[in-house]
Structures are given as C-alpha cells and as structure tokens.
C-alpha cells in the first residue's frame, strides 16, 4: 500500500485551545482509515487541515511523498482530496447534475453544454449505483440519496482521497449498506478513504486501519485487527468504560403519565400507554413511525383529535408547550441545535431560560445573582464542561450541548421528562454520563420517556419498551423479554398487537 497523503508533527492552536498536538496520520491507496475520538478530540480539525480549510501552525503535509502546502481548499481539491461533511452542502433547488458540476459546468463556447453535463452526471451516478437520475431536483432526494450525490460530485473531480465525516448518522440501514458497498468499490479502485464515525461496529466492518484521537493528541492506532471495541473505547476516553448501559433496577412508584387512545389524523392511531414514576419507558421504531409525534403531541407542539392525557391522575389539557411545563412535563427535543438551544447565547442563559420565562428567578425582575447560582448548580450537576458560563453554547462539543439542553429542562424540576434521541451524535463518555443521569433522575422518582433509534440504547436503558410502526403501537415488551430481533420485527413488520 503506497502512501497517498500523510501528515507529521501537526500542531493547531485556536484561542485558548491546543486543538491538535503533534499529530501524525497517513492514508494509502485503497485504504479505509477510520478516525475515531470523542467530540472535541480534534478529528474535524484534522480533516480541515488535510483539506486546506485550516492551515496548521506547525508540521508538514505530504502528498505522494512530496511536501505540499494548501493555500485554500481549492488547492487540496485540485490535488484530489474531497471531503463530505456532516452537513451536506448541495443547493436544494438545483438539479443533481447542476450540483455535481457547480462552478465547472461543461461549455460549448460561451454557453452551457447541458446535454454533456447531464450525460456525464448520469454516468457518474451510475457508478455510485444511484437510483435517481441527474435531472432530479436535489432537495427532493432523501438524505442518503443526497449523500450519494455528494460522493458523485467528489468522483467527478477525480478524487484520490475521500474523507467522510459521520456519513451514516442520518442514513437508514438500507442506505448505509449501499454506502458501504460503494466504499468497498472505491477502495478497489485505489481511492484512499478517511472515515470518521462514532459507531464502532461500522468502523470494525469497513476500516483497514484506525487512529484514535483524544483531546487533540494521538492516543493510538494501527491495523484494525489488532484492536477490540473495548480497546478503542479505552483509548478514546482514556479509561475503561465497563458498562455502557448501566441501568439500575428500577423502583417504580405511582402512575405519572397515562395516555389513552391518542389519535392524530393520518399520523397517530390509538396510542395508549402509562409511565410510572421512577421508570424509563423506551420508544422504538423506524424513523417516521410516529415516535416523535407522540412526544410532540404530549408537549403541545402538535394537535390531536382524539384521546386523553392524564398527568399524576389528573386530566391534562395541553395546547402549547407552556401548558405542558405548567403540568411538570418537559421534552428535550431531537434536534438540539434547531429546537433545543439558543446557539448564540451563553451557557448561563440557555441553562436558566426556562426558570427565567417562568418567573422562577424573581416574580417581575430577574435576580441576576440567583440566575448565576442556578446556572452553576445545573451545569455542575450535569458535569457540563465549558470555559466560562458566558461562553456561547455554539462553541461547546455536541455532548456538552446536549447536557445543557437537558439542564435547561431539569431547571424547572419536571416530573415527567421526554428525551428524544438523547445521545444522538455524541461521544461515548458523554453518552455514559447521560445514562447515569437518567438512572439518578428515576431514582429520585422522575418518569422518563426515551425515544431512540439505537437498539442497544433502547435495550440497555428501558424498563419497558413500546415499538411503533406507521403511527400505531405494534408491541410492548418488558426489558427482560425484549431482544433486538423482536423489536426489529415489530418495527418493520409482523409483531403481536400487544396492549398495555
């Protein structure tokens, strides 16, 4: 395997942070090199240096053994280094072909040569086994399809090194399979692939080599066959994580929330369940099965036509989030950046915003000192790591952002907490902390509803599991009887229309 791209002795400083500390890394022809590490470990910074977005403060970059210096991302792109970022960057109203050739459209004289453009785009799309054609409007594609379009765009540039940042985080399992077989083909063709992922099972499936970063330093690495999952987790967090899902034996109390016959035209049908105090009720099902809609109805974000909600035995009428909060119910939404946080605002204002708007920090005027104390208490209880309470949450890692989003809810001491994808896209360490927190909260008598797409999390943390499919509940399991096979079956088809 010949080295394509390598770096040595890379240092990168951001204000107040030594983001990369003496990093060496290389990828060869036909190699799939997995880059793993917790959020904030420096993976994205390294990719940005390799692709010319950032310039290193020290160290060298080699391409085909020759020292190079990227002055801009364009340099790197011309040398055949393409990056597919987590947030896809396609123009939604252009066609796929227009996106693929954006900025370098084939021309005939001064005019665009559309037939050639579409023909070539289609040719590349066929190479990635895309099921859509080059004339489709990009915005109408699914996320997985858009990712294929991004890969096609990279291939049209004669890519030699392709870096992918968390490519599967929003893909269905079908789309993930397609991606993996495509990665296999690209490897056959000699493309070097840098693969960033949190999902260790994926890394073990497709990677040849692995490098682990921790706090900006190189923690270890080598051929993937030399490592076990436990080894990698230990390198990532610098300690061993014995049990990722440490659910303690629950001590359920009275009924906290009772939902009876909840129906929403075309979305939900006859949803009925109970959650006890001190219990974690897991909601499983495919994306779009209506799991999140249940949460949104309970929190007053979506209307429903039929059904009753009882909280602590009392009939509850919830028309807007403020009503739900009055009744002691809080939802930590699925998308923390879009729905959960005020990214431009400080850790302090995010953590205390609910107390503030609910006049808990003074009836008429805000008691700034109390706000500060509350922010300190909440962030230390959740072990949020930040430089200062005045820091913008935008600058925190995903795990810490999620902790702030949860802290915000806990600030008003809800009796029922709904967590929608509580650990999506966050690192192993923060994940374990959030699971421990869930244990502690239920020990104190809180009722928790956890919606998750990750089966191990559902199986590991739930006391009971509800499975949904196409807006209906298809099964309910106790944690003892649940297995991933049973859940998948109920989520994807079949199942015994079990009732609570």
């Amino acid at each position: 395997m010949k080295e394509l791209l390598g770096v040595k002795g890379i240092h990168k400083y951001f204000p107040g942070v030594h983001a990369l500390d003496d990093i060496a890394f290389s990828v060869g022809t036909g190699e799939v090199h997995a880059l793993v590490g917790e959020n904030g470990a420096g993976k994205s910074t390294l990719i940005k240096i390799l692709s010319g977005i950032h310039r290193p403060d020290a160290g060298e970059i080699r391409l085909d053994g020759n020292r190079v210096e990227w002055k801009s991302p364009k340099n790197a792109l011309e040398a055949g280094i393409a990056v597919i970022h987590q947030e896809l960057s396609l123009a939604p109203h252009l066609t796929v072909a227009e996106n693929i050739f954006l900025g370098r459209e084939p021309r005939k004289g001064p005019f665009l040569d559309r037939p050639t453009m579409y023909k070539e785009a289609q040719h590349i799309l066929d190479r990635v086994h895309a099921s859509f054609d080059a004339g489709r409007e990009t915005g109408t594609l699914t996320t997985g399809e858009q990712q294929l379009a991004e890969i096609a765009k990279a291939l049209s540039l004669n890519v030699r090194i392709l870096a992918m940042d968390e490519p599967t985080s929003s893909l269905s399992s079908q789309e993930t399979e397609t991606l993996f077989s495509l990665i296999g083909e690209l490897r056959e063709q000699g493309v070097g692939i840098i693969y960033i992922s949190h999902r260790l099972e994926e890394v073990f499936r497709i990677a040849d080599t692995v490098s682990v970063l921790r706090d900006g330093t190189y923690a270890g690495g080598g051929p993937i066959t030399d490592f076990s999952e436990e080894d990698i987790v230990r390198l990532m967090v610098g300690r061993s994580v014995e049990n990722l899902f440490p659910r303690e034996a629950p001590q359920p109390g009275g009924v906290a929330l009772e939902v009876d016959g909840l129906s929403r035209q075309g979305v939900l049908e006859d949803i009925s369940f109970k959650v006890l105090e001190g219990e974690i009720l897991g909601f499983s099902g495919l994306v779009g099965s209506g799991r999140s809609n249940v949460a949104r109805c309970l929190f007053g974000l979506e209307p429903f036509q039929k059904g009753h909600i009882r909280i602590m035995g009392e009939n509850a009428s919830i028309e807007r989030p403020a009503d739900a909060l009055d009744l002691g119910l809080f939802l930590v939404p699925e998308d923390r950046k879009l729905q959960g946080l005020f990214l431009n605002r400080s850790v302090e204002s995010n953590a205390t915003v609910l107390q503030l708007v609910r006049h808990l920090l003074g009836r008429f005027l805000v008691n700034r000192k109390r706000q500060r104390n509350e922010a300190e208490r909440l962030t230390s209880e959740l072990n949020v790591r930040f430089a200062s309470l005045d820091q913008q949450v935008n600058n925190l890692s995903g795990g810490n952002q999620q902790k702030v989003a949860i802290a915000k809810g806990l600030s008003v001491t809800p009796k029922i907490l709904i967590l929608d994808e509580p650990t999506r896209g966050i690192d192993v360490g923060a994940k374990a902390e959030i699971h421990h927190l869930m244990n502690r909260l239920t020990r104190e008598g809180m009722a928790i509803i956890m919606i998750s797409s990750e089966l191990p999390e559902i199986l590991g943390m739930s006391d009971r599991i509800v499975v949904m499919r196409q807006g209906r509940m298809t099964a309910t399991f106790s944690s003892a009887e649940a297995t991933s096979e049973k859940i998948m079956l109920a989520a994807a088809g079949g199942g015994n229309n079990a009732r609570l």
């Binding site: 204000p15 989030p321 403020a322 879009l338 431009n344 605002r345 609910r358 913008q392 600058n395």
Partner: protein, 319 residues
C-alpha cells in the same frame, strides 16, 4: 485574556475614531454646546432606534417609524390645537396612536404571516396617508409651550429630549436584561423554534416588540413637534434608514438574537456626530446622503461578515 470582541465593542472604536477625526478637523466639535446640540438633534432618531432595537433583536424590521413619527406628531398637535386638549392628554393619545400602528404591524407579522418588511412597508404608506388626511397636507402650528417643552428646551444646559432618550434607553436596557420578556426577545430572535419549545409565547413577544417600536416612534414624533414648534406632515421621510443604521452600527444583528441597547446608544452617537460633523465640515447635503448610505451599507456588510464567521463555526470572540 479574551480577545477583543469586535462585534460587541468595535462600534466604540468607530465612534472614538470619528470623534478624533472631527475634533482634528474642526475644534468646535467637542465643545459642550455642540455635544448638547448633537444629542438634541439625535434624540428623535435615537428614541425610535431604542424601540427598533427590540424589533431587530427578534429578527424583524420596522420601516414605518418615519411615518409614525409624522402621524403621532400631527395627531398630538391637532388634539392640542384644534381639539383644545391639554398637552399631557394630547401626548398620551398620540403615543397610544403610535403604539396602535406598531400593534397592527405586529399582528400582521404574527397572525397574518406577512413578512415584517412588507407589513411595515404597508404601515409606512398607511400612516403617512393618515397624517395627510388629518392635516390636509398643511402644517399644524400653534401648539402650547408646555406641549413643545420636551422637544426644544434645555435643562441644566442639556436638552430635555436628550434626557428622554436616555430614560428610554435605560428602561429598554433594564427590560431586556432583567425581565422574562427581555429574555423572550433574544430567544425569539436567536431560535424561534427553541423559544417555542421553552414555553415562551413567541407570538406575544413578536407583537409586543412592534408595539414598542410604535410607542417610541410616537414619542419621537412629539419631540419632533416641540423641536419645530409645529407638526409637518412630510416630516420623518427617510428617517427609518438612520434609525436602522444606528441599531446595526451598534452591533445588533439584522438576523436577530444578538445586540444590545448600549450598542444602539453608541450607534446613535455615531450617526449624530456623523451628521453634525458633515455639516460643520460644510459638506453638501446631497453628498451627506451618499456618505450616510455608504455608512449604512458598511454596517450591514460587517453584520454579514460576523454572521458568516459564525456559520463557519468560529467563535466571534476569536475574531
């Protein structure tokens, strides 16, 4: 040691540079009498800017302030002169009329789903039309000295209108910093969806900020009448540009969620001294317009630049 935050404090550097330049070019600029003059002249525009800050913080815009200034001034003067109301009653009613204009804009934005730009553009036309209807296009003069007092008089050598501007600014600063509503204003501008999730009545916040802008414009209209000793139906044309420029120069983002009253006050002083300095330097009033336009564009370009830096994930503090 945190790096200098240009977004937050850059406007002070601009103001200092402007003052230094003007002081160098013309020794009269920093005379106390001239400073008082600048503040008196900027008070009308500045009072509007205080209310506008609320609107822009939510990510909205209010183009109607110039017309609302004219309407409330004309109404107040008409009530005082033609209906014989005492000055305070006329003032209260005129300010309420300004607030009503804002309320209507806010309702159009919130319930009618009309983009703020369009809703307030319509209000700009409608309020101007109402002013012309009320006055039949003629100035209203003969307002009582008490009615005019706040607009032209000085107290302890400082214009009363300047005191009113400062009072408005303090009240606004206090509201934004120490009340739940203030938090709601920032929250709505920063992330409307997250604000809704947090149980904030986002609709009420949106409508209220336009009403506040209407109220401050109404107050500004009365100061304007006092300044001129008459209500001019065509007054305030183009005022919205200066007002928005002050707010944006003060570091409040047109995208909402970021900004402060302190910044707006700095922006008002920049605009005020720019106006005053250009006049003292005897630059033609036509060219003054061009320069102001350029300053406005410059402020917006900077806002876009900071926004872009934010999107690339850099800390603003790192800039």
């Amino acid at each position: 040691m945190p790096a200098f935050n240009w977004r937050k404090h850059g406007n002070i550097v601009v103001l200092a540079a402007l003052l230094a330049f003007l002081a160098f070019s013309n020794s009269d600029v920093l005379q106390p009498s001239n400073i008082a003059n600048v503040i008196g002249q900027a008070a009308v525009m500045g009072t509007c800017a205080v209310g506008m800050t609320f609107v822009i913080l939510t990510g909205g815009i209010d183009l109607s302030v110039g017309s609302v200034v004219a309407l409330s001034g004309a109404l107040g003067a008409w009530l005082n002169v033609n209906a014989g109301l005492p000055w305070h009653a006329a003032w209260v009613l005129a300010i309420l009329a300004g607030g009503m204009c804002g309320l209507v804009s806010g309702i159009l934005v919130q319930w009618g789903r009309v983009p703020p730009f369009m809703a307030t553009l319509a209000m700009m036309a409608a309020a101007r039309g109402l002013t012309l209807l009320l006055t039949q296009g003629n100035p209203v003069s003969g307002t009582s000295p008490a009615f005019n007092y706040a607009g032209w008089a000085a107290f302890l050598g400082f214009p009363v209108s300047g005191f009113i501007l400062i009072a408005c600014a303090v009240a606004a600063w206090f509201t934004l910093r120490f009340t739940a509503f203030g938090t709601g204003v920032y929250a709505v501008g920063d992330n409307l969806e997250a604000a809704h999730f947090a149980g904030i009545h986002t609709g009420a916040v949106t409508i209220t900020v336009y009403a506040i802008s209407g109220i401050t414009a109404g107050l500004a209209g009365l100061l304007m009448v006092g300044r001129l000793w008459s209500a001019q139906p065509s007054i305030g044309t183009g005022l919205e540009l200066d007002v928005i420029a002050s707010v944006v120069l003060g570091g409040t983002s047109l995208f909402g969620g970021v900004g402060s009253i302190r910044g707006t006050m700095t922006g008002i002083l920049i605009m005020g001294f720019l106006d005053n300095g250009l006049r003292l330097l005897e630059i033609s009033s036509y060219l003054q317009q061009v320069i102001k336009g350029a300053v406005f564009v410059g402020a917006v370009v900077l806002d876009m630049y900071f926004k872009g830096a934010y999107r690339k994930g850099k800390s603003r503090d790192a800039l």
